[in-house]
Protein backbone atom coordinates (compact mmCIF):
# COMPACT_ATOMS: atom_id res chain seq x y z
CA UNK A 1 0.00 0.00 0.00
CA UNK A 2 1.87 3.01 -1.21
CA UNK A 3 0.12 4.60 -4.12
CA UNK A 4 1.72 7.81 -5.26
CA UNK A 5 -0.05 10.58 -7.08
CA UNK A 6 0.54 9.82 -10.71
CA UNK A 7 0.71 12.41 -13.39
CA UNK A 8 3.26 13.55 -15.89
CA UNK A 9 5.91 15.20 -13.77
CA UNK A 10 9.27 16.63 -14.61
CA UNK A 11 11.99 14.55 -13.04
CA UNK A 12 12.33 15.50 -9.41
CA UNK A 13 9.25 17.66 -9.12
CA UNK A 14 6.45 16.60 -6.84
CA UNK A 15 2.84 16.08 -7.88
CA UNK A 16 0.40 17.24 -5.24
CA UNK A 17 -3.34 17.76 -5.02
CA UNK A 18 -3.58 21.26 -3.58
CA UNK A 19 -5.80 24.33 -3.62
CA UNK A 20 -5.08 27.50 -5.55
CA UNK A 21 -4.25 29.22 -2.28
CA UNK A 22 -1.78 26.48 -1.34
CA UNK A 23 -0.24 26.79 -4.81
CA UNK A 24 0.26 30.53 -4.23
CA UNK A 25 1.82 29.95 -0.81
CA UNK A 26 4.19 27.28 -2.12
CA UNK A 27 5.09 29.49 -5.09
CA UNK A 28 5.98 32.27 -2.67
CA UNK A 29 8.03 29.89 -0.53
CA UNK A 30 9.97 28.63 -3.54
CA UNK A 31 10.88 32.22 -4.48
CA UNK A 32 12.64 32.55 -1.08
CA UNK A 33 11.37 35.99 -0.06
CA UNK A 34 13.21 37.94 2.66
CA UNK A 35 10.07 39.57 4.05
CA UNK A 36 6.43 38.51 4.02
CA UNK A 37 3.69 40.72 5.46
CA UNK A 38 0.54 38.82 6.32
CA UNK A 39 -3.04 39.78 7.02
CA UNK A 40 -5.89 37.33 6.36
CA UNK A 41 -9.08 37.91 4.38
CA UNK A 42 -11.56 35.52 2.75
CA UNK A 43 -10.90 33.92 0.26
CA UNK A 44 -7.15 34.50 0.64
CA UNK A 45 -6.72 33.39 4.29
CA UNK A 46 -5.33 29.95 3.49
CA UNK A 47 -2.26 31.54 1.87
CA UNK A 48 -1.41 33.31 5.11
CA UNK A 49 -2.09 30.14 7.13
CA UNK A 50 0.19 28.08 4.89
CA UNK A 51 3.01 30.62 4.91
CA UNK A 52 2.73 30.95 8.70
CA UNK A 53 3.08 27.18 8.94
CA UNK A 54 6.07 27.07 6.58
CA UNK A 55 7.65 29.81 8.68
CA UNK A 56 6.90 28.09 12.01
CA UNK A 57 8.19 24.76 10.69
CA UNK A 58 11.44 26.38 9.60
CA UNK A 59 10.75 25.66 5.93
CA UNK A 60 10.64 29.34 5.07
CA UNK A 61 13.52 31.54 6.11
CA UNK A 62 11.88 34.94 5.97
CA UNK A 63 10.88 37.75 8.24
CA UNK A 64 7.14 37.20 8.71
CA UNK A 65 5.39 40.37 9.80
CA UNK A 66 1.87 39.74 11.04
CA UNK A 67 0.54 43.24 10.58
CA UNK A 68 -2.66 44.75 11.99
CA UNK A 69 -4.22 45.49 8.61
CA UNK A 70 -3.67 45.51 4.88
CA UNK A 71 -2.48 49.09 4.70
CA UNK A 72 0.40 48.16 6.97
CA UNK A 73 1.01 45.00 4.96
CA UNK A 74 1.64 46.96 1.77
CA UNK A 75 3.69 49.64 3.52
CA UNK A 76 5.81 46.95 5.17
CA UNK A 77 6.61 45.10 1.97
CA UNK A 78 7.15 48.34 0.04
CA UNK A 79 9.70 49.49 2.63
CA UNK A 80 11.41 46.11 2.77
CA UNK A 81 11.53 46.05 -1.01
CA UNK A 82 13.09 49.51 -1.14
CA UNK A 83 15.69 48.29 1.33
CA UNK A 84 16.64 45.63 -1.21
CA UNK A 85 14.63 42.68 0.03
CA UNK A 86 12.56 40.20 -1.91
CA UNK A 87 9.01 40.46 -0.62
CA UNK A 88 5.61 38.82 -0.79
CA UNK A 89 2.12 39.55 0.44
CA UNK A 90 -1.41 38.56 -0.49
CA UNK A 91 -4.81 40.14 -0.22
CA UNK A 92 -8.29 40.38 -1.69
CA UNK A 93 -11.16 42.81 -2.18
CA UNK A 94 -11.64 44.98 0.92
CA UNK A 95 -8.02 44.36 1.84
CA UNK A 96 -6.81 45.61 -1.52
CA UNK A 97 -8.97 48.69 -1.16
CA UNK A 98 -7.72 49.33 2.37
CA UNK A 99 -4.13 49.39 1.09
CA UNK A 100 -4.94 51.43 -2.01
CA UNK A 101 -2.81 54.49 -1.15
CA UNK A 102 0.13 52.20 -0.43
CA UNK A 103 -0.51 50.26 -3.63
CA UNK A 104 -0.14 53.53 -5.56
CA UNK A 105 2.91 54.57 -3.55
CA UNK A 106 4.58 51.20 -4.17
CA UNK A 107 4.11 51.61 -7.89
CA UNK A 108 5.35 55.21 -7.79
CA UNK A 109 8.43 54.13 -5.86
CA UNK A 110 8.95 51.35 -8.42
CA UNK A 111 9.33 48.92 -5.52
CA UNK A 112 9.40 45.39 -6.99
CA UNK A 113 6.75 43.95 -4.71
CA UNK A 114 5.00 40.71 -5.65
CA UNK A 115 1.47 40.37 -4.33
CA UNK A 116 -1.26 37.81 -4.89
CA UNK A 117 -4.78 39.21 -5.13
CA UNK A 118 -7.52 36.61 -4.86
CA UNK A 119 -10.31 38.16 -6.87
CA UNK A 120 -13.46 39.07 -4.99
CA UNK A 121 -16.20 41.67 -5.26
CA UNK A 122 -15.28 45.03 -3.75
CA UNK A 123 -17.00 47.05 -1.03
CA UNK A 124 -20.13 48.73 -2.25
CA UNK A 125 -22.52 45.86 -1.92
CA UNK A 126 -21.40 43.48 0.77
CA UNK A 127 -20.70 40.20 -0.97
CA UNK A 128 -18.17 37.60 0.05
CA UNK A 129 -18.03 36.26 -3.46
CA UNK A 130 -15.94 35.91 -6.56
CA UNK A 131 -15.58 38.58 -9.24
CA UNK A 132 -12.76 40.60 -10.80
CA UNK A 133 -14.06 43.98 -9.63
CA UNK A 134 -11.16 44.40 -7.18
CA UNK A 135 -8.68 43.87 -10.01
CA UNK A 136 -10.52 46.34 -12.23
CA UNK A 137 -10.70 48.93 -9.44
CA UNK A 138 -6.88 48.99 -9.21
CA UNK A 139 -5.99 48.53 -12.87
CA UNK A 140 -4.61 52.05 -13.24
CA UNK A 141 -2.35 51.82 -10.19
CA UNK A 142 0.78 51.25 -12.29
CA UNK A 143 1.28 47.61 -11.37
CA UNK A 144 1.81 44.73 -13.75
CA UNK A 145 -1.23 42.41 -13.58
CA UNK A 146 -1.08 38.70 -14.37
CA UNK A 147 -4.13 36.40 -14.28
CA UNK A 148 -4.11 32.62 -13.69
CA UNK A 149 -6.56 30.07 -15.06
CA UNK A 150 -5.87 27.11 -12.77
CA UNK A 151 -3.83 26.03 -9.73
CA UNK A 152 -0.79 25.09 -11.84
CA UNK A 153 -0.72 28.49 -13.47
CA UNK A 154 -1.00 30.16 -10.04
CA UNK A 155 2.20 28.57 -8.74
CA UNK A 156 3.96 29.19 -12.06
CA UNK A 157 2.90 32.84 -12.26
CA UNK A 158 3.93 33.61 -8.68
CA UNK A 159 7.42 32.35 -9.49
CA UNK A 160 7.52 34.17 -12.85
CA UNK A 161 6.28 37.40 -11.22
CA UNK A 162 9.65 37.87 -9.49
CA UNK A 163 11.46 37.76 -12.82
CA UNK A 164 9.32 40.67 -13.99
CA UNK A 165 9.11 42.75 -10.81
CA UNK A 166 12.79 42.56 -9.89
CA UNK A 167 14.25 42.67 -13.38
CA UNK A 168 16.65 45.60 -13.54
CA UNK A 169 15.03 46.86 -16.74
CA UNK A 170 11.49 46.68 -15.30
CA UNK A 171 11.31 47.30 -11.51
CA UNK A 172 7.55 47.49 -11.34
CA UNK A 173 5.40 45.71 -8.74
CA UNK A 174 3.43 42.70 -9.92
CA UNK A 175 0.00 41.50 -8.83
CA UNK A 176 -0.95 37.89 -9.58
CA UNK A 177 -4.72 37.54 -9.77
CA UNK A 178 -6.91 34.46 -9.58
CA UNK A 179 -10.62 33.93 -9.00
CA UNK A 180 -11.74 33.64 -5.42
CA UNK A 181 -13.73 30.51 -4.54
CA UNK A 182 -13.53 28.97 -8.04
CA UNK A 183 -9.72 28.76 -7.85
CA UNK A 184 -8.76 29.74 -4.30
CA UNK A 185 -10.54 26.68 -2.89
CA UNK A 186 -10.17 24.38 -5.91
CA UNK A 187 -8.14 21.26 -5.17
CA UNK A 188 -6.47 19.80 -8.22
CA UNK A 189 -3.28 18.19 -9.41
CA UNK A 190 -0.30 20.54 -9.38
CA UNK A 191 3.27 19.80 -10.43
CA UNK A 192 5.20 21.54 -7.65
CA UNK A 193 8.60 22.67 -8.96
CA UNK A 194 11.78 21.64 -7.18
CA UNK A 195 13.65 24.34 -5.28
CA UNK A 196 16.82 23.98 -7.36
CA UNK A 197 14.92 24.68 -10.56
CA UNK A 198 13.27 27.77 -9.09
CA UNK A 199 16.64 28.96 -7.79
CA UNK A 200 18.09 28.46 -11.27
CA UNK A 201 15.18 30.31 -12.92
CA UNK A 202 15.51 33.28 -10.56
CA UNK A 203 19.35 33.31 -10.52
CA UNK A 204 19.41 35.63 -13.55
CA UNK A 205 18.34 38.45 -11.23
CA UNK A 206 21.50 38.05 -9.17
CA UNK A 207 23.67 38.67 -12.23
CA UNK A 208 22.00 42.00 -12.94
CA UNK A 209 23.18 45.37 -11.55
CA UNK A 210 21.99 45.94 -8.01
CA UNK A 211 18.90 48.12 -7.82
CA UNK A 212 18.99 51.37 -5.87
CA UNK A 213 18.19 50.69 -2.26
CA UNK A 214 17.78 52.43 1.06
CA UNK A 215 20.63 51.91 3.47
CA UNK A 216 20.28 52.98 7.11
CA UNK A 217 22.35 56.14 7.62
CA UNK A 218 22.98 56.48 3.91
CA UNK A 219 21.97 59.75 2.29
CA UNK A 220 19.73 58.57 -0.50
CA UNK A 221 16.27 59.49 -1.54
CA UNK A 222 14.57 56.35 -2.65
CA UNK A 223 11.08 56.40 -3.94
CA UNK A 224 9.71 59.08 -6.15
CA UNK A 225 9.23 62.74 -5.50
CA UNK A 226 8.94 65.34 -8.18
CA UNK A 227 6.94 68.17 -9.61
CA UNK A 228 6.55 69.36 -13.19
CA UNK A 229 9.38 67.91 -15.30
CA UNK A 230 10.64 65.67 -12.53
CA UNK A 231 7.24 64.14 -12.12
CA UNK A 232 6.82 63.76 -15.88
CA UNK A 233 10.19 62.05 -16.16
CA UNK A 234 9.31 59.52 -13.45
CA UNK A 235 5.91 58.81 -14.93
CA UNK A 236 7.29 58.49 -18.47
CA UNK A 237 9.93 56.05 -17.25
CA UNK A 238 7.27 54.05 -15.43
CA UNK A 239 5.03 53.86 -18.50
CA UNK A 240 8.06 52.85 -20.59
CA UNK A 241 9.04 50.13 -18.11
CA UNK A 242 5.54 48.70 -18.31
CA UNK A 243 5.77 48.63 -22.11
CA UNK A 244 9.14 46.82 -21.82
CA UNK A 245 7.55 44.27 -19.49
CA UNK A 246 5.57 42.83 -22.42
CA UNK A 247 8.64 41.52 -24.25
CA UNK A 248 10.21 40.57 -20.92
CA UNK A 249 7.20 38.42 -20.02
CA UNK A 250 7.29 36.66 -23.42
CA UNK A 251 10.98 35.93 -22.89
CA UNK A 252 10.49 34.84 -19.27
CA UNK A 253 7.72 32.44 -20.30
CA UNK A 254 10.10 30.82 -22.81
CA UNK A 255 12.85 30.46 -20.21
CA UNK A 256 10.30 29.04 -17.79
CA UNK A 257 9.33 26.43 -20.36
CA UNK A 258 12.96 25.45 -20.88
CA UNK A 259 13.45 24.77 -17.19
CA UNK A 260 10.04 23.52 -16.09
CA UNK A 261 8.62 22.05 -19.30
CA UNK A 262 5.50 24.23 -19.19
CA UNK A 263 4.90 27.23 -21.42
CA UNK A 264 1.76 29.27 -21.72
CA UNK A 265 2.24 31.38 -24.83
CA UNK A 266 3.27 34.60 -23.10
CA UNK A 267 0.93 37.58 -22.73
CA UNK A 268 -2.03 35.71 -24.14
CA UNK A 269 -2.88 32.08 -24.71
CA UNK A 270 -4.56 31.23 -27.99
CA UNK A 271 -6.82 28.18 -27.93
CA UNK A 272 -7.99 26.76 -31.29
CA UNK A 273 -7.62 30.22 -32.81
CA UNK A 274 -5.86 29.39 -36.10
CA UNK A 275 -8.93 28.79 -38.26
CA UNK A 276 -11.50 30.32 -35.91
CA UNK A 277 -14.18 32.59 -37.35
CA UNK A 278 -15.49 33.67 -33.98
CA UNK A 279 -13.57 34.19 -30.76
CA UNK A 280 -14.34 34.58 -27.09
CA UNK A 281 -11.91 36.75 -25.12
CA UNK A 282 -11.69 35.82 -21.44
CA UNK A 283 -9.42 35.60 -18.42
CA UNK A 284 -9.03 33.49 -15.31
CA UNK A 285 -10.91 30.35 -14.33
CA UNK A 286 -13.68 30.85 -16.90
CA UNK A 287 -11.15 29.91 -19.60
CA UNK A 288 -11.08 26.24 -18.56
CA UNK A 289 -14.84 26.03 -18.97
CA UNK A 290 -14.72 27.95 -22.25
CA UNK A 291 -12.11 25.52 -23.65
CA UNK A 292 -14.38 22.57 -22.80
CA UNK A 293 -17.32 24.17 -24.58
CA UNK A 294 -15.17 25.13 -27.57
CA UNK A 295 -14.17 21.47 -28.04
CA UNK A 296 -17.86 20.51 -28.03
CA UNK A 297 -18.76 23.29 -30.49
CA UNK A 298 -15.83 22.35 -32.74
CA UNK A 299 -17.16 18.77 -32.89
CA UNK A 300 -20.42 20.29 -34.16
CA UNK A 301 -18.53 22.22 -36.84
CA UNK A 302 -18.50 25.67 -35.21
CA UNK A 303 -15.17 27.39 -35.84
CA UNK A 304 -14.68 29.05 -32.47
CA UNK A 305 -11.56 29.83 -30.46
CA UNK A 306 -10.48 31.44 -27.20
CA UNK A 307 -8.08 34.28 -26.53
CA UNK A 308 -7.07 34.10 -22.88
CA UNK A 309 -5.56 37.20 -21.34
CA UNK A 310 -2.62 36.27 -19.07
CA UNK A 311 -1.07 39.71 -18.75
CA UNK A 312 -3.75 42.34 -18.26
CA UNK A 313 -1.56 45.30 -17.33
CA UNK A 314 0.14 46.43 -19.44
CA UNK A 315 -2.73 45.73 -21.84
CA UNK A 316 -1.38 43.33 -24.47
CA UNK A 317 -3.00 45.20 -27.35
CA UNK A 318 -0.39 44.33 -30.00
CA UNK A 319 -0.65 40.56 -29.61
CA UNK A 320 -4.40 40.74 -29.18
CA UNK A 321 -4.83 42.73 -32.39
CA UNK A 322 -2.57 40.28 -34.22
CA UNK A 323 -4.57 37.30 -32.96
CA UNK A 324 -8.01 38.83 -33.50
CA UNK A 325 -7.48 40.65 -36.79
CA UNK A 326 -9.91 39.51 -39.48
CA UNK A 327 -12.04 37.32 -37.21
CA UNK A 328 -15.72 37.68 -38.05
CA UNK A 329 -16.92 38.33 -34.52
CA UNK A 330 -15.48 38.66 -31.02
CA UNK A 331 -17.31 38.22 -27.73
CA UNK A 332 -15.51 39.67 -24.72
CA UNK A 333 -16.38 38.13 -21.35
CA UNK A 334 -15.96 40.41 -18.35
CA UNK A 335 -16.28 39.27 -14.73
CA UNK A 336 -16.64 42.87 -13.59
CA UNK A 337 -18.32 46.14 -14.44
CA UNK A 338 -17.07 49.37 -15.93
CA UNK A 339 -19.26 51.99 -14.31
CA UNK A 340 -20.06 54.75 -16.76
CA UNK A 341 -19.77 52.41 -19.70
CA UNK A 342 -22.43 49.94 -20.80
CA UNK A 343 -20.00 47.18 -21.72
CA UNK A 344 -17.49 45.40 -19.49
CA UNK A 345 -14.03 46.85 -18.78
CA UNK A 346 -11.97 44.55 -21.00
CA UNK A 347 -14.51 44.93 -23.80
CA UNK A 348 -14.33 48.70 -23.47
CA UNK A 349 -10.52 48.62 -23.60
CA UNK A 350 -10.39 46.31 -26.60
CA UNK A 351 -12.89 48.59 -28.37
CA UNK A 352 -10.11 51.18 -28.58
CA UNK A 353 -8.35 48.88 -31.08
CA UNK A 354 -11.44 48.05 -33.14
CA UNK A 355 -10.26 49.99 -36.17
CA UNK A 356 -7.15 47.78 -36.36
CA UNK A 357 -9.18 44.56 -36.46
CA UNK A 358 -10.09 44.67 -40.17
CA UNK A 359 -13.82 44.78 -39.59
CA UNK A 360 -14.21 42.29 -36.73
CA UNK A 361 -17.43 42.98 -34.88
CA UNK A 362 -17.47 43.00 -31.09
CA UNK A 363 -19.99 42.34 -28.31
CA UNK A 364 -19.75 42.40 -24.54
CA UNK A 365 -20.78 39.69 -22.08
CA UNK A 366 -20.95 40.38 -18.37
CA UNK A 367 -21.02 37.24 -16.24
CA UNK A 368 -19.55 35.68 -13.12
CA UNK A 369 -20.30 38.68 -10.93
CA UNK A 370 -20.75 37.98 -7.20
CA UNK A 371 -20.13 34.22 -7.52
CA UNK A 372 -22.67 33.73 -10.29
CA UNK A 373 -21.37 30.73 -12.13
CA UNK A 374 -20.09 31.01 -15.69
CA UNK A 375 -21.75 27.74 -16.62
CA UNK A 376 -21.35 25.58 -19.70
CA UNK A 377 -24.82 26.71 -20.80
CA UNK A 378 -23.81 30.36 -20.35
CA UNK A 379 -20.68 29.86 -22.46
CA UNK A 380 -22.75 28.13 -25.16
CA UNK A 381 -25.12 31.09 -25.14
CA UNK A 382 -22.18 33.49 -25.55
CA UNK A 383 -20.69 31.49 -28.43
CA UNK A 384 -24.09 31.26 -30.15
CA UNK A 385 -24.64 35.02 -29.84
CA UNK A 386 -21.15 35.72 -31.20
CA UNK A 387 -21.86 33.38 -34.14
CA UNK A 388 -25.11 35.26 -34.76
CA UNK A 389 -23.14 38.50 -34.80
CA UNK A 390 -20.72 36.97 -37.32
CA UNK A 391 -23.67 36.08 -39.56
CA UNK A 392 -24.86 39.66 -39.50
CA UNK A 393 -27.86 39.08 -37.27
CA UNK A 394 -29.05 41.77 -34.91
CA UNK A 395 -27.34 41.07 -31.57
CA UNK A 396 -27.40 43.19 -28.45
CA UNK A 397 -24.12 44.96 -27.77
CA UNK A 398 -24.09 44.14 -24.06
CA UNK A 399 -25.55 41.02 -22.40
CA UNK A 400 -25.67 40.37 -18.67
CA UNK A 401 -25.68 36.61 -19.17
CA UNK A 402 -26.90 35.56 -15.72
CA UNK A 403 -29.34 38.44 -15.40
CA UNK A 404 -31.73 38.27 -18.35
CA UNK A 405 -33.88 40.96 -16.69
CA UNK A 406 -31.16 43.39 -17.71
CA UNK A 407 -31.64 44.37 -21.28
CA UNK A 408 -28.89 46.58 -22.57
CA UNK A 409 -28.33 49.20 -19.84
CA UNK A 410 -30.71 51.91 -20.82
CA UNK A 411 -31.73 55.19 -19.28
CA UNK A 412 -35.32 54.55 -20.39
CA UNK A 413 -35.67 51.32 -18.45
CA UNK A 414 -35.68 50.34 -14.80
CA UNK A 415 -36.47 53.85 -13.62
CA UNK A 416 -36.05 55.03 -10.06
CA UNK A 417 -33.30 53.40 -8.09
Amino acid sequence: MNTKIKAKAKAGSQIKVITGNAAAAIGAKLARPDVVAAYPITPQTEIIEQISKFHADGEMDCELITVEGENSAMNAVMAASLAGGRVFTATSSWGLVFMYDAVLATAGARAPVVMVNVNRETPGIIAVSSGQQDMISTRDAGWIFLIAENCQEIIDLVIQAYRLAEDYDIQVPVMVHYDGFYLSYLSEVVDVPVQEDVDKFLAVLKDQPERTKLIPGGKLGCGSHGILDGYLELRYKHVSAMERSKAKFEQTDKEFQEIFGRGYGGLIEEYRMDDADVVLVGSGSMCGTIKTVIDKKRDAGVKVGLLKIRMYRPFPSEVMVKALKGKKAIGVVDRSLCFGFKGGPIYTELKAFETQLDGSKMISFIDGIANTDITIANVEQMIDATCDLAEGKDVREVTWVSYPEAQEPDSEKMGGR
Binding site: M1, N2, T3, K4, I5, K6, A7, I15, K16, V17, T19, T42, V128, S129, E149, N150, D179, F181, Y182, L183, Y185, L186, S187, E188, V189, S285, M286, G288, T289, K291, T292, N371, D373, I374, T375, I376
Partner: protein, 182 residues
Protein backbone atom coordinates in the same frame (compact mmCIF):
# COMPACT_ATOMS: atom_id res chain seq x y z
CA UNK B 1 -15.99 11.78 -16.11
CA UNK B 2 -17.96 11.36 -12.90
CA UNK B 3 -19.53 14.45 -11.44
CA UNK B 4 -20.20 14.32 -7.73
CA UNK B 5 -22.04 16.81 -5.55
CA UNK B 6 -21.53 16.87 -1.79
CA UNK B 7 -24.08 18.28 0.64
CA UNK B 8 -23.43 18.93 4.30
CA UNK B 9 -22.82 21.56 6.93
CA UNK B 10 -19.79 23.53 8.04
CA UNK B 11 -17.74 21.42 10.48
CA UNK B 12 -18.63 18.04 8.98
CA UNK B 13 -15.61 18.02 6.73
CA UNK B 14 -17.52 18.31 3.46
CA UNK B 15 -14.69 20.21 1.80
CA UNK B 16 -12.06 17.79 3.10
CA UNK B 17 -14.07 14.81 1.82
CA UNK B 18 -14.05 16.24 -1.69
CA UNK B 19 -10.33 17.10 -1.42
CA UNK B 20 -9.33 13.63 -0.21
CA UNK B 21 -11.27 11.99 -3.04
CA UNK B 22 -9.60 14.25 -5.64
CA UNK B 23 -6.27 13.26 -4.10
CA UNK B 24 -7.15 9.54 -4.15
CA UNK B 25 -8.14 9.71 -7.83
CA UNK B 26 -4.82 11.38 -8.64
CA UNK B 27 -3.08 8.40 -7.02
CA UNK B 28 -4.71 6.05 -9.52
CA UNK B 29 -3.34 8.02 -12.47
CA UNK B 30 -6.68 9.74 -13.00
CA UNK B 31 -7.53 13.37 -12.44
CA UNK B 32 -9.58 14.90 -9.69
CA UNK B 33 -10.75 18.44 -9.11
CA UNK B 34 -12.98 19.59 -6.30
CA UNK B 35 -14.12 22.84 -4.81
CA UNK B 36 -16.70 24.00 -2.29
CA UNK B 37 -19.17 26.82 -2.55
CA UNK B 38 -20.27 28.72 0.53
CA UNK B 39 -20.66 32.27 1.71
CA UNK B 40 -19.14 33.03 5.09
CA UNK B 41 -17.08 30.28 6.68
CA UNK B 42 -18.93 29.11 9.79
CA UNK B 43 -19.95 25.91 11.53
CA UNK B 44 -23.46 24.68 10.87
CA UNK B 45 -24.00 26.63 7.66
CA UNK B 46 -24.98 24.59 4.60
CA UNK B 47 -21.96 23.72 2.44
CA UNK B 48 -22.01 22.30 -1.05
CA UNK B 49 -18.92 20.93 -2.74
CA UNK B 50 -18.30 19.66 -6.24
CA UNK B 51 -16.00 16.90 -7.43
CA UNK B 52 -15.01 15.95 -10.96
CA UNK B 53 -13.13 12.70 -11.40
CA UNK B 54 -11.87 11.67 -14.81
CA UNK B 55 -9.20 9.82 -16.75
CA UNK B 56 -8.51 13.12 -18.56
CA UNK B 57 -7.45 16.41 -17.01
CA UNK B 58 -10.38 18.42 -15.72
CA UNK B 59 -10.60 21.91 -17.18
CA UNK B 60 -14.12 22.99 -16.24
CA UNK B 61 -14.22 25.46 -13.36
CA UNK B 62 -17.96 25.56 -12.94
CA UNK B 63 -20.42 24.18 -10.40
CA UNK B 64 -22.15 20.85 -10.98
CA UNK B 65 -25.82 20.93 -11.97
CA UNK B 66 -26.25 17.37 -13.25
CA UNK B 67 -24.41 15.06 -10.88
CA UNK B 68 -23.96 11.32 -11.38
CA UNK B 69 -23.43 10.83 -7.66
CA UNK B 70 -24.74 12.59 -4.57
CA UNK B 71 -22.96 12.46 -1.22
CA UNK B 72 -25.06 13.66 1.69
CA UNK B 73 -23.18 14.09 4.96
CA UNK B 74 -26.03 15.83 6.75
CA UNK B 75 -28.99 13.43 7.19
CA UNK B 76 -31.41 16.35 7.68
CA UNK B 77 -30.94 17.13 3.99
CA UNK B 78 -31.80 13.56 2.88
CA UNK B 79 -35.11 14.49 1.32
CA UNK B 80 -34.29 18.05 0.35
CA UNK B 81 -35.33 18.95 -3.17
CA UNK B 82 -32.12 20.91 -3.62
CA UNK B 83 -30.08 17.77 -2.98
CA UNK B 84 -31.73 15.82 -5.80
CA UNK B 85 -31.77 18.75 -8.21
CA UNK B 86 -30.47 17.68 -11.63
CA UNK B 87 -29.53 14.09 -10.66
CA UNK B 88 -28.83 12.14 -13.85
CA UNK B 89 -30.60 8.86 -14.69
CA UNK B 90 -28.82 5.89 -13.13
CA UNK B 91 -27.70 8.12 -10.28
CA UNK B 92 -26.20 7.05 -6.97
CA UNK B 93 -26.49 8.51 -3.51
CA UNK B 94 -24.35 8.00 -0.45
CA UNK B 95 -26.11 8.96 2.75
CA UNK B 96 -24.69 9.41 6.23
CA UNK B 97 -27.51 8.29 8.49
CA UNK B 98 -28.06 6.21 11.62
CA UNK B 99 -31.32 4.94 10.09
CA UNK B 100 -30.57 2.38 7.40
CA UNK B 101 -34.10 2.06 6.05
CA UNK B 102 -34.64 3.16 2.48
CA UNK B 103 -36.77 6.25 2.83
CA UNK B 104 -35.43 8.35 0.01
CA UNK B 105 -36.63 8.03 -3.53
CA UNK B 106 -36.13 9.78 -6.82
CA UNK B 107 -36.92 8.63 -10.34
CA UNK B 108 -33.26 8.79 -11.36
CA UNK B 109 -31.83 7.25 -8.19
CA UNK B 110 -30.75 3.67 -8.87
CA UNK B 111 -28.24 2.92 -6.15
CA UNK B 112 -28.21 3.97 -2.51
CA UNK B 113 -25.46 3.55 0.04
CA UNK B 114 -26.17 4.17 3.73
CA UNK B 115 -23.52 4.40 6.43
CA UNK B 116 -23.70 5.61 10.02
CA UNK B 117 -20.51 7.61 9.60
CA UNK B 118 -21.00 9.75 12.71
CA UNK B 119 -21.14 6.64 14.91
CA UNK B 120 -17.99 5.14 13.37
CA UNK B 121 -16.19 8.48 13.65
CA UNK B 122 -17.16 8.79 17.33
CA UNK B 123 -15.83 5.30 18.00
CA UNK B 124 -12.55 5.79 16.13
CA UNK B 125 -11.62 9.46 16.51
CA UNK B 126 -13.95 10.53 19.31
CA UNK B 127 -15.55 13.26 17.22
CA UNK B 128 -18.72 13.17 15.12
CA UNK B 129 -16.86 14.25 11.97
CA UNK B 130 -17.98 11.79 9.31
CA UNK B 131 -15.75 12.77 6.39
CA UNK B 132 -13.11 10.04 6.30
CA UNK B 133 -15.69 7.29 6.81
CA UNK B 134 -17.56 8.78 3.87
CA UNK B 135 -14.39 8.60 1.74
CA UNK B 136 -14.17 4.83 2.21
CA UNK B 137 -17.91 4.33 1.73
CA UNK B 138 -17.78 6.39 -1.47
CA UNK B 139 -15.03 4.18 -2.88
CA UNK B 140 -17.09 1.05 -2.23
CA UNK B 141 -20.43 2.39 -3.46
CA UNK B 142 -19.13 4.09 -6.60
CA UNK B 143 -16.76 1.28 -7.55
CA UNK B 144 -14.51 4.04 -8.92
CA UNK B 145 -11.73 3.62 -6.36
CA UNK B 146 -9.99 0.92 -4.35
CA UNK B 147 -9.56 1.56 -0.65
CA UNK B 148 -5.73 1.76 -0.79
CA UNK B 149 -5.44 5.08 -2.67
CA UNK B 150 -8.05 6.53 -0.29
CA UNK B 151 -6.00 5.55 2.77
CA UNK B 152 -2.81 6.82 1.15
CA UNK B 153 -4.48 10.13 0.32
CA UNK B 154 -5.21 10.61 4.03
CA UNK B 155 -1.45 11.05 4.61
CA UNK B 156 -1.70 14.46 2.99
CA UNK B 157 -4.30 15.64 5.51
CA UNK B 158 -3.49 13.87 8.80
CA UNK B 159 -0.45 12.64 10.68
CA UNK B 160 0.42 10.46 13.66
CA UNK B 161 -2.42 8.96 15.70
CA UNK B 162 -5.03 10.98 13.82
CA UNK B 163 -3.83 9.47 10.57
CA UNK B 164 -4.07 5.89 11.79
CA UNK B 165 -7.51 6.52 13.35
CA UNK B 166 -8.80 8.08 10.15
CA UNK B 167 -7.43 5.21 8.07
CA UNK B 168 -9.52 2.91 10.27
CA UNK B 169 -12.50 5.21 9.62
CA UNK B 170 -12.04 4.97 5.84
CA UNK B 171 -11.64 1.19 5.96
CA UNK B 172 -14.72 0.78 8.12
CA UNK B 173 -16.65 3.04 5.73
CA UNK B 174 -15.56 0.82 2.84
CA UNK B 175 -16.51 -2.38 4.66
CA UNK B 176 -19.64 -1.32 6.51
CA UNK B 177 -21.58 0.75 3.96
CA UNK B 178 -24.89 -0.93 3.14
CA UNK B 179 -25.74 -0.88 -0.56
CA UNK B 180 -29.22 -1.01 -2.04
CA UNK B 181 -30.25 -1.27 -5.69
CA UNK B 182 -33.39 0.75 -6.30
Amino acid sequence: MSEVRFHGRGGQGVVTTSKILANAFARTGQFGASFPMFGFERRGAPVTAFGRFSDKSVREKTQIYNPDILVVLDPSQRSSEAVFQGLLPGGMMLLNDSDNTINVSHDNLKKLGIIDANKIALEEIGLPIPNTVIVGAFAKMSGLLEIDPCCDALQDYFSGKKLSANIVCAKRGFEEVELFDL
